[in-house]
Subunit: 309 residues, 2 copies
Amino acid sequence: MAEQPFHGVLVPVLTPFAPNGEPDAGRFTVFCRWLLDQGAGGLSVFGTTSEANSMSAVERMKLLDALVEAGIPPDKLMPGTGACSTSEAAELVRHVIGHDCSGVLMLPPFYYKGVSDDGIFAFVSRVIDKAASPALRVYLYHIPPVAQVGYSLDLVGRLIKAYPQTVVGLKDSSGDWSNTAALLDHFPGFAVFPGSEVFLLDALRKGCAGCITASGNVNVPCIRKVYENWRSPHADALQAEITTLRKALQAYPMVPALKRIVAHFHGDPQWAAVRPPMVPLDEAQSSALIADLAKLGFTLGERPRSMAA
Amino acid sequence: MAEQPFHGVLVPVLTPFAPNGEPDAGRFTVFCRWLLDQGAGGLSVFGTTSEANSMSAVERMKLLDALVEAGIPPDKLMPGTGACSTSEAAELVRHVIGHDCSGVLMLPPFYYKGVSDDGIFAFVSRVIDKAASPALRVYLYHIPPVAQVGYSLDLVGRLIKAYPQTVVGLKDSSGDWSNTAALLDHFPGFAVFPGSEVFLLDALRKGCAGCITASGNVNVPCIRKVYENWRSPHADALQAEITTLRKALQAYPMVPALKRIVAHFHGDPQWAAVRPPMVPLDEAQSSALIADLAKLGFTLGERPRSMAA
């Protein structure tokens, strides 16, 4: 098994859009730098939370160019390369490798449903072969609630066996703890990241590498505290606190809610913009969300008061 | 309501791949010409059956360039513009308009699930606005079994009202006759095409424009016979015969099966190639399929013997 470049709290970074609807590289860079300053272990730009699939491949590549040019360290980047075609996925992967990023987060092809493990294996295999780089590190992105198509336990095992130096980890956004636990049990040394911090402590106790979580966009420090203190007697209390915040967020559509929070606490209303098919929170939802957070003592980038020692 | 450019049996054309896995423009052009010679009323290149979403936007645009350059009449083309981002969808739409094709077949954005009608409306609206052409004719592509995201009856009504000269029809691949019937009842003059010939006669009796069907790739003449003779006393018998063939095909994965049939009857094994995540039929399935067709007296491009008068 290859060396693991990512650990800790990874963030699938929200993508800001300018008033004309175009991706906003300036705001994006500032936000990525702030997340790293907050203690993020890595940035999974172009994930589901990033509205990556609401951007073309060209838009994503230009944003990555801008990030790296602005000095965001590429070894902290695990860009998503989600695409339904081997041709586009391979193009995205080659672009990421060209920037010396430490890994890619790879969705399975998600248009056709009911596809076989053999078909998904052939897809990943063709993309890896086309990328043709020993530097490539693939993190499989398992998110059946959205993609519908996923990586079964058996398929993960086949991919690890076929590409032991390349297929080195997985983000599990199934929301199914038994699947995360099975991955950790079956594939020691393989970097498993739960897709929600709700499972972080349980997963750390079974050897996970950290988590990749949407709420990292607004709560890296507290989630990181669980990661760093999972052996401490206070670990369960720390976990309970981040779970409480996560559940408060989950009462709203996640991406519009996170963007609303960033807009509110950064004092930048443009951050609330989403691309279709997503819709922003309306005023009533926005007010309710901010009120819910106030009740928890939440302030962006700081520990909610309820989490004070 | 705008004038309707498409009628009859439209075919979502299979896409041939060369031994190196690349789209094969030569075979594609020959096949498109043959389908028109068989009596196809139009060609929905780049639909689900075309494995369009297993090709990048660039690959699709190059194939369309090749078709038009080879002399396939653009007024017979309704290319699919399926994409999850407004940016890519708009680019594909502009490319189709640039070739003077008579319409586009537009999937809703299909990555994010549980999106609202408002979100899908905003998506279609933004793409139409970006295309900025009075020549654009949009056929909505409703295929919830695959895309999961679809166009509700209410949303269709809103889009027709907002864009009466642009949103002029819909392909209904829901497989739900009650939905097709409701569309025909609610929107007279709107061109509704069932996505399977199984519903053709029933839909013609309610005023549909024809059908857009995968099995058109191998059976245009017989399906067209129903379209042309739906008022005849033999219409139900003709319908029963095309339904029988369709049901025989549906016993196999549709796209690999259709490609196997083309490979067999055109004597060109390369036609059986599919792109991941699809997998070709294995030898046993292929033999069983060809045997099933023999029992029905099927020959590509001719009427099955069972359909002889």
